[in-house]
Amino acid sequence: MAGEKKGLQLLDFWVSPFGQRCRIALDEKALPYEYLEQDLGNKSELLLRSNPVHKKIPVLLHDGRPVCESLIIVQYIDEAFSSSSGKPPLLPSDPYARAQARFWADYVDKKVYDCGTRLWKTKGEPQQQARKEMVEILKTLEGALGDKPYFGGDEFGFVDVAFVPFTAWFLTYERYGEISVDKECPRLAAWAKRCGERESVNKNLSPPEKVYEFIGTLKKKFGIE
């Protein structure tokens, strides 16, 4: 058993888009929780005990029991607190709509972070390739959004939660990748702005300039120039 503390705790790292998914979900459900910032260069006993398999954040502790992997955490929050929070569910109730939502959240997981990392980590040909791929990925997601206000339709939902933290990284992608999200995917840019007006998103996303600064620091640390 990882710990016996009652209630909800989130082991997280400030700039992590994966952690932010969990923070947004918790706030959408109006669930109080204790935020515990982790030092990833010197991992805590609690983190290592709570996620021995991956040793990664985010980890949600509920009455001391750990849940790991951000989208699994978000689904857990949605399912464990469905009746008590009185807030709308993040996943739709229709099984086919749920499958669609899971598909697009999975697509974000498979594609966005990895390609984004290659955008700022590489140069020359690999960077050009990453740039092309990122535009394709964003256009595909824009296609999935269609004319709807949110990926979830009229309501902010699972896919929105899964993708919105990455909007704070658009500026970084734009500067390293020379991609203009506004130009290439105007509907996606509008969606990002719309989400930014929600309190849960506004409160939990890192300011884009801070993300850019953070990546700059990482690059220096890894000796990438």
């Binding site: 790991c68 689904q75 099984p95």
Partner: protein, 230 residues
């Protein structure tokens, strides 16, 4: 029966991902039409149903496509939940246990899955294969512990009956026979991972699994050569 009988699976007979979907349909007692895809010449139906990834498996239900094997398994479980006529559940009902099942299923596809491609499809020499085998064995050792935790003394990760983690790991068992032949020993080693070795035998012996998880190693080796040549 909710949704009627209009089910079709687009798959490849060796695909761990298609195999798990078929096992679940069998467990649920659901009849379906199966269409074998040629990966070198994908059908218009496949490409049209899964334009984003163009991969198998695809479940077509009432003309609508569901993609990504773990998503398909959960879809089937939700449309045809436990109950009517002794139909079993594939995911547990408790939210924490569901999170655990999803965690271990994701671990299998992440760690066992990447080692599987390394052991059979991507390795350029025996050294690389051996490295991938070592990664698979490390993942299986972790799963031995997970099995103890999840099964709580019962026959499967899902408890009394086959669950999500069982079908996800079970999908790889056909290819494991091929690995066993290549490396000259059992990948799921009864000495290192006794619980998993017992699980492997039990899983293969289950009615819903027979005929879906392949056991013709020679046929699979021919398939492997064709795939590597593609």
């Amino acid at each position: 029966m909710a949704g009627g009988g209009d089910l079709k699976v687009l798959g490849v007979w060796t695909s761990p991902f298609a195999i798990r979907v078929r096992v679940v349909l069998n467990l649920k007692g659901l009849p379906y039409e199966y269409a074998e895809e040629d990966l070198g010449n994908k059908s218009a139906l496949l490409v049209g149903s899964n334009p984003v990834h163009k991969k198998v498996p695809v479940l077509i239900h009432g003309g609508r496509a569901v993609n990504e094997s773990q998503i398909i398994v959960q879809y089937i479980d939700e449309v045809w939940p436990a109950g009517a006529g002794g139909r079993p559940a594939v995911l547990p009902s408790d939210p924490y246990e569901r999170a655990m099942a999803r965690f271990w299923a994701a671990f299998v596809d992440d760690k066992v899955g990447s080692a599987w491609t390394g052991m059979l499809f991507k390795c350029k020499n025996e050294e690389e294969r051996a490295e991938a085998v070592a990664r698979a064995e490390a993942a299986l050792e972790t799963l031995e512990g997970a099995f103890k935790e999840c099964s709580k003394g019962k026959p499967f990760f899902g408890g009394d009956g086959i669950g999500l983690v069982d079908v996800v790991l079970g999908g790889y068992l056909g290819w494991f026979l091929v690995v066993n032949r290549i490396i000259g020993r059992r990948l799921i080693d009864p000495a290192r991972t006794p619980l998993l070795a017992g699980w492997e035998d039990r899983f293969r012996a289950t009615e819903a699994v027979k005929g879906v998880v392949p056991d013709d190693v020679d046929k699979m080796l021919v398939f492997l050569q064709k795939l590597r040549a593609m």
